[in-house]
């Protein structure tokens, strides 16, 4: 696939996330897409790891949701955008969940802060009762 420049949202994958079994497929799709647009093995691993954390949160806190993968271009760079979205309970304090160590499930609370560190862009939209949408992008290093 030619890495074309100047276009938005090229390839799209939509992966339904209903159980931890779906994480394996979501990670794999992310890696394939990353490698297709020329990410290094190391960058592809970061993308796959971020997908894993976001998808696991969907399973743990919302029960079900989906992961959308697309390639993005902004003229001079190409990257991957991962959207993790669910219609679960939502998050009241979206700043708090980005603090290292904050967890409502007795976890380590490093999933979201870790994803934010791994990816170049991080955006979270959530409110109680309205579900959660987390959008992250990683640009290819040149």
């Amino acid at each position: 696939m030619a890495a074309s420049v100047g276009f938005e949202a090229e390839t799209e994958f939509c992966i339904a996330v209903n159980s931890d079994n779906d994480l394996v497929a979501a990670r794999r799709k992310g890696r394939v897409l990353a490698e297709q647009i020329g990410f290094s093995g190391s960058e592809a691993t970061l993308v796959a790891t971020a997908i894993s954390e976001l998808a696991r949160n969907i399973v743990s806190y919302a029960g079900r949701g989906e992961i959308l993968l697309s390639t993005v271009g902004n003229g001079s760079s190409i990257g991957i955008t991962v959207i993790a979205r669910d219609q679960g309970p939502g998050i009241a304090d979206t700043r708090r969940v980005l603090e290292h160590g904050y967890s409502t499930s007795g976890g380590l609370g490093l999933g979201l802060p870790g994803v934010r560190r791994i990816m170049d862009e991080f955006d979270i939209i959530s409110a109680p009762g309205l579900g959660t949408t987390i959008t992250v992008t990683k640009w290819k290093r040149r």
């Binding site: 394996v24 990670r27 794999r28 691993t45 796959a48 790891t49 994803v115 791994i118």
Partner: protein, 127 residues
Amino acid sequence: MAVPILKQSHYLIATIQSALTDADLVQLRDALADKVGKFRSRGVIVDVTALDVLDSFASRTLRDISYMIKLRGAETVIVGIQPEVAFAMVQLGIAFEDVATALDLEEGLLYLDKKQKLGQHGSQRGF
């Protein structure tokens, strides 16, 4: 997919063959804790060479394995963490303190042998 566990003299070697679901990992943890008692093993090696992602859950489960095996009186060493995976773990902020790791199976076996020797006092040399 279940992870095969091989018994090699007084050690157990679990070689992960492909990407694992959370349930597979938990099953591996329980199987190892069980087999260490059954075979009176002194060491466990978990070979993760085939894993292309070690996220927070997988890391936590490997750490749990190491702690559980310790409580059962044996040592665990995780071998084969790939360089990209190691980089992602560091970026994610995963602390793997007090979990023994080694480059590969061979180094893992050396580590366990050394631990065995340290644990034996004077008279009880060799196996």
